[in-house]
């Protein structure tokens, strides 16, 4: 990457009430180590807060992490809120405990990829680099 080239800006966000942030923090650190600008929201962010932070921070990528089972309710809301704010060129991916049968509906809502436990951080780094939309 040349010095002039813009660094990829990533928001790692924890929607919902669950507090399992081990994965989110590891992902945040790995993307940062790979040269990206990473903002981590901290726990228990509402869909509005996540979309607002993404807008304010002008991010290219959002990674959502949830392990409580509330993804079916919260992910589509986050996508709707992003859309309302005109952020349709942001790459959104997700991770956590998300059953396979839920994935098609989440993809339909606009989540581009869902990663489960055991995914290596290098896979995520490659994924973000190859798929960033802006």
């Amino acid at each position: 990457m040349s010095a002039k080239e813009k660094k990829i800006r990533v928001l790692i966000a924890k929607p919902g009430l669950d507090s399992h942030d081990r994965g989110a923090k590891i992902v945040a650190r790995a993307l940062r180590d790979a040269g990206m600008e990473v903002i981590y929201t901290g726990l228990r962010q509402t869909p509005d807060q996540i979309a607002e932070t993404a807008l304010q921070e002008d991010v290219d990528v959002i990674g959502l992490s949830i392990l409580s089972g509330a993804h079916t309710t919260l992910f589509p809301r986050i996508m709707q809120t992003l859309k309302k704010k005109g952020m349709t060129d942001v790459l959104v991916f997700a991770g956590g405990i998300i059953p396979e049968e839920d994935i098609p509906a989440l993809k339909k809502a606009g989540i581009r990829e869902v990663f489960g436990p055991g995914t290596s951080t290098s896979t995520l780094v490659e994924y973000v680099k190859n798929n960033v939309l802006k």
Binding site: G16, L17, S19, D21, K25, A28, R44, I97, G116
Partner: protein
């Protein structure tokens, strides 16, 4: 521990073995790795001999089961008398559904209940709060008021079971409700047996389900300890938890050290209430994880008991040996489970459970093989419970006390864990104690660093995780049925909440909330007032809101 002449002979033999036998063999058969170490980074030697424990004093360091320092076990006969309590953490959906699962588990031979509450309850929100959206009944059972609790324990006599509740911020409220259910069943408070987790300190750096700032959180934990010491003598008011510290990514030494540091903070805070250490320390209980490295885990449990006994005796000047005993609950490690090849998780769990038993636990939860995918199905939870019954009845490991005691390796590792944990505790003391450490982000940083290190080791193939970075398969076999929480759960829960709110005496509700505000403001022990409020069907959300207005809300210190 051994006679000096014999010791010298062993040393000579060992040196000869290292100079001749070993190199000759290694020339043809190199070892798998240059260095071996435990998960905590403790170097593991090729062989342990009497030399490694030559400075130990059997009577001082090991002693006898049921006597301080309890290294070999807290009870005089351990599992020859009674097995550990087989306690499966359960809770999902509505109170009716969880009540049904409780009755199923008791029928299948479970010996103690353990309640999993949903996230809204844990965070002090009623099911109808905006933050509860999508979370009601998902990760545990939803309990917003006494009616939910009455249904949860319907048909379960509280003088016949012991109940553990995984609840921290709202622990005084949940214990209060349990007392109210006991009152309605005619069970006196002296007969109630069980545990509230009520360990708010570890929330700030491990489980991170914090409602109030650190100081009032510690105050509420202490309210429960004080109240139980005076009124509910068979209740374990706090379960000082390393489990979440470990799951958040710490290693075994950090888990051990940070848990004991929390324990010290609770003792200090309770002493400030004017209780004597011998009046409450015997009821403090502990909760650890059991991870994969078998002997390190066994050593951790043994070291934990020894350190705690000495801390309570020497630092807090307890006289009664019961105050010095560390009773523990252990849960096999959730973060070692993989969604890949899920049946392998049953095997992992069995080894971890065996280590917990060889470590001398009083109570055990075994994870279900499908838990990296969903909440456990009935089939998976039955296999998990059977795992404990197999260890208890078929393996024979329960027939003698502390069968690994005296192993050169296990004893040396126990000593090493103790030494490393004590050095952490010194550091924490010198930074001003646990709350100061939380405010500095010390624990958060330590844990995040260990978690990242572990992940990198797996990715560099320095650690093999079967099914993740080796022995992988193209298509994983996924169990057919995953437990799903249907959307009608939220609807039913909201409808009941509405009905309960409509049916209450409004004036009584207002009066009890006003009294609660005043008592909180005056820094009184809140248990009695809360019990009165709960009886009037005041909700957890309403109580928490009042307390938030007095104590403020915790703002997360973000440490990546």
């Amino acid at each position: 521990m051994f006679d000096q002449r014999k010791q010298a002979r062993i040393r000579k033999q060992r040196q000869k073995w290292e100079k001749t036998t070993v190199p000759n063999w290694i020339k043809r058969h190199p070892e798998r790795r240059k260095d071996f170490e435990t998960v905590s980074g403790i170097p593991v030697k090729r062989l342990y001999t009497p030399e490694d424990i030559e400075n130990m004093d059997y009577s001082e360091d090991l002693g006898f089961p049921g006597e301080a320092p309890f290294t070999r076990g807290v009870h005089a006969t351990m599992y020859r008398g009674r097995f550990w309590t087989m306690r499966m953490f359960a809770g999902f959906g509505t109170a009716e559904q969880t009540n049904e699962r409780f009755k199923y588990l008791l029928k299948e031979g479970e010996t103690g209940l353990s309640v999993a509450l949903d996230y809204p309850t844990i965070m002090g929100y009623d099911s109808d709060h905006a933050m509860s959206l999508g979370e009601v009944g998902q990760c545990g059972v939803a309990v917003s008021h006494l009616k939910d609790m009455e249904i949860l324990f319907d048909g379960i006599p509280l003088d016949k079971v012991s109940t553990s509740m995984t609840i921290n911020g709202p622990a005084p409220m949940l214990l209060g409700m349990y007392i109210c259910v006991g009152d309605k069943q005619g069970v006196p408070r002296e007969k109630l047996a069980g545990t509230t987790q009520n360990d708010n300190l570890k929330e700030f750096f491990a489980q991170k389900l914090c409602i109030f700032p650190p100081a009032p959180s510690l105050k509420l934990s202490t309210d429960v300890i004080e109240y139980c010491a005076r009124h509910v003598p068979k209740w374990n008011p706090v379960s000082i938890s390393g489990y979440h510290i470990r799951e958040a990514g710490s290693n075994a030494v950090q888990e051990l050290a940070f848990t004991l540091a929390d324990g010290i903070a609770y003792v200090e805070s309770t002493l400030e209430r004017g209780l004597k250490v011998d009046e409450f320390a015997g009821r403090l209980s502990f909760f650890f994880a059991c991870h994969n490295n078998f002997f390190e885990e066994v050593a951790k449990f043994r070291a934990a008991r020894r350190i705690w006994a000495r801390v309570v005796r020497d630092r807090f000047k307890a006289k009664n040996p019961r105050s010095m005993w560390m009773r523990m609950h252990v849960q096999t490690s959730g973060c070692t489970l993989t969604p890949q090849q899920p049946i392998n998780n049953a095997i992992r769990t069995a080894y971890q459970a065996l280590a917990a038993v060889l470590g001398g636990t009083q109570s055990l939860h075994t994870n279900s093989f499908d838990e990296a995918l969903c909440l456990p199905t009935e089939e998976a939870v039955t296999v998990a419970l059977r795992t404990q019954q197999l260890i208890a009845h078929e393996t024979g490991v329960t027939d003698t006390i502390d069968p690994l005691g005296g192993s050169y390796y296990v004893e040396a590792l126990t000593n090493e864990m103790e030494e490393r944990a004590l050095s952490y505790i010194d550091r924490i003391d010198s930074m001003g104690g646990v709350i100061a450490g939380i405010e500095k982000g010390f624990f958060q940083k330590e844990i995040a660093d260990s978690a990242y290190k572990y992940q990198k080791e797996v990715e560099r193939h320095e650690r093999t995780v079967v099914g993740i970075n080796d022995y992988t398969v193209e298509k994983d076999w996924i169990p057919m049925d995953l437990l799903r929480i249907p959307p009608h759960v939220e609807k039913e829960q909201l409808a009941r909440l509405e009905r309960v709110k409509q049916g209450r005496n409004r004036q009584k509700v207002k009066q009890s909330l006003d009294k609660l505000f005043n008592d909180a403001d005056k820094n009184k022990n809140l248990m009695p007032t809360m019990i009165e409020a709960l009886k009037a069907y005041v909700t957890i959300g309403e109580i928490t809101e009042v307390l938030r207005s007095v104590y403020g809300e915790y703002r997360e210190l973000i440490v990546v």
